[in-house]
Amino acid sequence: MQLPDQETSLPARRAASRKRAPRRTGTDHAPRPNAWYLIPALLFFLAFAVVPLILVVVLSFSSWPGFGDVEWSGLDNWERLWNDGRVWDSTRITLQLTVLTWVTQTPMAIGIGVWAAGTQRNRAFLSSIFFLPLLLSSAAIAVLFHRFLDPNYGMASDLGPPLGFPDGNILGTSHGAFIVIVFVSGWQWIPFHSLLYQAAARNVPTVLYDAATIDGANRWNMFWQITLPQLRYTVVTSSVIMIVGSLITFETVLLLTGGGPGGATRILPYLMYSAGFESFEMGYAAAIATVLVVVATTISLIIVKFSGFAKMRSTLEGM
């Protein structure tokens, strides 16, 4: 994690960087902590994160209504899942949402981040406004836009017609509701990714731009030839966070569209939630959750494979 340290200029940091070189050689004879320092955190994490992850697979072979005993049901849930059109639809919608999120958020975040790293007049003031969505929770943002887009009271009746929704009921059409989810998660998350790009763009050595200016490069060339290549690690970091995050856009969907209309925004986490906590078919919901874990892991692995993003260390460097 580079960011907190970069942001601080604590004596510790300076002391640490001075000591960095000799740190790894030799050994000291100071007393070392024993395993008991580690065991509470370890047991806690096992109990509330690792065991649940195993249990989710186990429960997918059971039938449990959320109370009473868990009964084994073999492959029933999986057979049902395979034949359930909603699961395939949800997987497709989830992947579409993920792709569209990346395609819209990445260019905007790079643009805003690079702009905010600059020295223009009013930049500090404007960027403090740009980052305001970061202060609101997902729930607050979803509630805000739900009312904002309410066809009776909100702005949708004014905004809808020019955007191609004559009755202003944007959330009532499947196309419109999907676009709204993409838009609202962009509104919420682009500021965060811009922050990452802003920090990275500030670290691009000025010499590169000076040299390019002497060579007569214009601003457009500089962006493509210098800024963007220098941001490549941040692009990977930001993309991983964005893609994994968009797989779990649960609050936005629950509060804004309720998965509707007609299942048009029913992403996998929402389908799982409604199977488990609305229909009380926990076993079936666990099977859907397993699919979610597999999809999320597969996508992460693909990114790791194709970007050389092999260690968490790189993510932290990207920040």
Binding site: H29, F44, M155, V293
Partner: protein, 278 residues
């Protein structure tokens, strides 16, 4: 766009235009929220969403408090403080052991926490529900605190062990000469040196707990244990027409984070950078 170090100080019209559009996209919902929250339901309905209201009032604040919002606030505050405290109690010694211990357990658990970063909290709510109900913790604030801490723990340990690696070895050597044990080293030397990262971690955990929605949604049922984010959802359903009341509730829900933004922007951003990685 990359004009920040370009000596040519020509105005960049494209960037300027795009940033104006983005300003409108960000500004209009936020300004509307504030303006709507400060008018009355009646004035809002008469004037419509686009007009500047003629009646300004803080009555919505009283109304929200009458509906029990302070109680939700109190619960959220307890969850936030308890999550921060529990995270530090668990993660500081663990990070210390990961950095300083020579045992296989330390490196094995570090790898486990790294992999743990990838577990999506949403995917395990069903087994968590089973575990929490079996523990008899359903509909308690503890039911929210435990998983919130568990799912922030990997990144917290990662950040803290990164910071603790930077503690110079001389510090340990010097304290050994003073006859300090490993616990005194943690408390008297390591924690003060790592306080920057500890602050960032506190804000990261605090933001996660304050904004947490899915765990309260699953584990909390009763009114007296409701938290702010769930309260917003309830208001969304109850305040069918009272948009000003709802907007004021949204505004109030963000006040603590807004104060951080004003007075501790650096730490907020450090905490957010972690929160986005979750």
């Amino acid at each position: 766009m990359a004009q920040h170090s370009s000596p040519t100080a020509r105005p960049n019209w494209i960037a300027g235009g795009l940033s104006t559009i983005w300003l409108i996209i960000i500004g209009v919902p936020i300004i509307s929220m504030i303006v709507w929250g400060l008018t009355t339901e009646r004035a809002f309905r008469d004037a419509g969403p686009l007009a500047i209201p003629t009646v300004w009032t803080f009555d919505n604040v009283t109304e929200i408090i009458d509906r029990g919002f302070l109680g939700y606030y109190w619960n959220t505050a307890i969850i936030t403080v308890a999550s921060i405290a529990l995270s530090l109690v668990l993660a500081l010694p663990a990070a210390y052991a990961i950095v300083r211990s020579r045992s296989w357990l330390a490196s094995a658990s570090f790898r486990m926490f790294l992999l743990g970063l990838a577990i999506p909290a949403q995917a395990v709510i069903i087994p968590l529900y089973l575990i929490i109900t079996e523990m008899g913790l359903y509909d308690t604030l503890i039911a929210v605190i435990l998983p919130t801490v568990a799912f922030t723990l990997p990144l917290v340990i990662l950040i803290l062990s990164g910071a603790l690696r930077d503690v110079p070895r001389d510090v340990y050597e010097a304290m050994t000469l003073d006859g300090a044990g490993s616990f005194r080293m943690l408390v008297n030397a390591v924690i003060p040196i790592a306080r920057g990262s500890i602050s960032a971690v506190c804000i990261f955990v605090g933001l996660n707990a304050w904004n947490s929605f899915i765990f309260p949604l699953i584990f909390i049922r009763s009114e007296e244990n409701t938290v702010v984010t769930l309260g917003l959802r309830q208001f969304q359903q109850e305040f069918a027409v009272d948009i000003p009341g709802l907007m004021m509730a949204v505004l109030i829900s963000a006040i603590p984070v807004f104060l951080l933004y004003l007075f501790a922007r650096r730490w907020l951003i450090a905490g957010l950078a972690g929160a986005g990685g979750r």
